[in-house]
């Protein structure tokens, strides 16, 4: 296991990227049972990632550096945008609408990418810098979340 918050969270971003790509493959394959499973795996991973941030990482960061509440608030708001796209995806999978699935996945993909680049470029380094000595404790809580 890694001993860096940034690496741990970035790896989790990549896991979500792969699961999203797997959903797109499943849509193209036309196998709706498989897509329903893939979509569930993807949404669990993505929403789980948001929970780790909103319940563990962001509060800890804001506790040591209160001025971080602006950026973390922004990120939390973007999580809201992505949560509603995930709901739309579940509806589209339910109604077996392939075009809608692809369009929603494309939108999600781009929102996730620009969101992740902000977290990986700014927020995670900020967390590394400010949460130095608590890292082992936070990492174990993130893994447990």
């Amino acid at each position: 296991m890694t001993d860096s918050i940034a690496t741990f969270m970035t790896d989790d971003h990549q896991r979500c990227d792969h699961l999203l790509a797997a959903c797109e493959q499943a849509v193209s394959g036309g196998d709706w049972t498989r897509l329903a499973e893939q979509a569930k795996d993807f949404s669990n991973a993505l929403l789980g990632h948001f929970d780790m941030e909103e319940q563990v990482l962001f509060p800890e960061l804001v506790a040591v550096s209160p001025w971080a509440s602006g950026p973390t608030g922004m990120m939390t708001m973007e999580h809201g945008q992505m949560r509603s796209l995930v709901e739309e995806l579940e509806d589209a999978v339910g109604t077996q609408d392939a075009d809608a699935c692809l369009g929603i996945l494309e939108t999600l993909h781009l929102v996730i990418q620009q969101h992740n680049s902000k977290e990986e470029g700014i927020l995670y380094p900020m967390a590394e810098e400010n949460l130095g000595d608590q890292t082992p404790d936070i990492l174990s809580r993130l893994q447990a979340a």
Binding site: D17, H18, L20, A21, E24, Q25, S28, G70, P71, M74, M75, M77, Q81, S84, L85, E88, D99, A100, L102, G103, I104, E106, T107, H109, L110, Q113, Q114, S117, K118, G121, I122, L123, M126, E129
Partner: protein
């Protein structure tokens, strides 16, 4: 710590980039229709008035508008630095470039010196109105280093292209005399196509390829050194060429071309190694643009007709790749702005269309197909003249499909923006 890059309010109002994107396809349609009208004569030589007109319709009217519009949108995001007075800059640049492209096309194609002068001056002013504020943002910027280096190099190349272009307009109008006019034209074309367009494509690719398709990043030495090295190569080559050292000029142009081929091949390899396997229409535009770039270099090296190099670079790379990028940029921007309006209005009862609902993927596929057909016909037309007219018509048609798709996105935006305001 600077958290400016997290702000959502840096993006310019959507009507600024949108007006660039909605005007640009008109010029590609015009270039296609010009080809269809003049037919094979246009492709006889790069000095044909029609060829010069079509080149500037595509290079300034289409490419120039899309690139400036996209940069006004992208700079705040990738550089974390807003473009100062973006509304004024956007409005001026758009108007001046539009008039400039039309004027230059009339002047060069119809031999109208007043139009040539007016077109040259407004295109020059349009690019300068864009490049100075953009340079301020680029100097202040601290984002992805590879992208920034390439964008800075491209901005320098744009300034040199404009200066050489204005000089050429003056020569054509009979003011100063140049010892070797055709070599100055070569230098202008090299700075414009290799410098401004080529370096900008490199900067954009470094930024968006990993993001759009989840590819590995470009190799670090390439991100760091390629754009500055190419800029130096272009500068050295064009100076050698203008002062008459043909051998050194050819060698340096060849080395620079090789650098671009290296970039294109790397791009194709990275795309192969992408972790998002889905074959989307924009990916086909990347493939065909990078293959066109390689084929243009090979054609140049084997002394193929210059019009073939021109078709490959202007249509294969210049018309195709931006169309592919617009298929992503326009729907995403629209979704992004509608989202924010929704949030501001608190209207969560209304479901905003996702990207697939804004721009139909099937029509995007049709556009790609038409584009590839036009490219194939126009490359063939260099050798089989009868293909020139159908090639021009299909080029106009593929650009018309692009325009209709973009108008569709804009109309949906307007409809939802009105409903959200209720």
């Amino acid at each position: 710590m600077d958290t400016g890059g997290l702000s959502l309010d840096q993006a310019p109002p959507i009507d600024i980039p949108a007006r660039f994107f909605l005007t640009a396809p008109l010029f590609a349609i015009a270039a296609g229709l010009l080809l269809a009208w003049q037919g094979p004569t246009l492709l006889v030589s790069r000095w044909m008035p029609g060829a010069l007109a079509a080149t500037h319709l595509i290079a300034i009217g289409y490419l120039g508008l899309i690139m400036c519009g996209a940069l006004l949108q992208m700079l705040p995001v990738i550089a974390g630095a807003p473009v100062p007075a973006v509304r004024l800059v956007g409005t001026l640049t758009h108007l001046l470039l539009t008039c400039g492209a039309a004027g230059l096309a009339l002047g060069l194609g119809g031999g109208d010196s007043a139009a040539l002068l007016a077109g040259g001056v407004s295109a020059g002013l349009g690019f300068l109105a864009f490049v100075f504020p953009a340079a301020i943002a680029l100097v202040r910027a601290r984002g992805v280093p590879g992208t920034l280096l390439a964008l800075r190099a491209a901005a320098i190349a744009l300034v040199v292209t404009v200066i050489l272009g204005l000089l050429l307009v003056a020569v054509v109008l009979g003011w100063p005399r140049l010892p070797d006019f055709s070599r100055a034209v070569d230098a202008h074309a090299a700075w414009g196509l290799m410098g401004w367009v080529g370096l900008l494509v490199i900067g954009v690719a470094i930024q968006v390829l990993p993001m759009f398709y989840v590819t590995p990043a470009y190799p670090a030495p390439m991100r760091r050194w390629l754009a500055p090295a190419l800029l130096i190569g272009i500068a050295g080559a064009s100076v050698a060429w203008i002062i008459g050292d043909a051998l050194l000029g050819r060698l340096l142009f060849g080395a620079t071309g090789l650098g671009f081929v290296g970039f294109a091949v790397t791009t194709l390899v990275l795309i192969r190694r992408r972790q998002r396997p889905r074959l989307d229409p924009t990916l086909i535009h990347w493939w065909s643009a990078m293959l066109s770039l390689c084929m243009a270099a090979v054609s140049w090296a084997f002394a193929a007709p210059p019009t073939l190099v021109g078709v490959l670079l202007l249509v294969g790379l210049g018309v195709g790749l931006p169309a592919g990028m617009l298929f992503k940029i326009m729907p995403f921007l629209t979704w992004f702005h509608l989202q924010h309006r929704q949030l501001a209005a608190g209207r969560f009862d209304l479901r905003i269309p996702h990207m697939g609902g804004l721009l139909s993927i099937r029509w995007a596929q049709a556009q790609v197909g038409l584009h590839l057909l036009a490219l194939g016909l126009l490359c063939g037309a260099v050798f089989v003249p009868a293909l020139a007219r159908p090639g021009g018509l299909i080029l106009a048609l593929s650009s018309a499909v692009l325009l209709v798709l973009l108008i569709g996105v804009a109309r949906t935006y307007r409809r939802f923006a009105e409903r959200l305001a209720l």
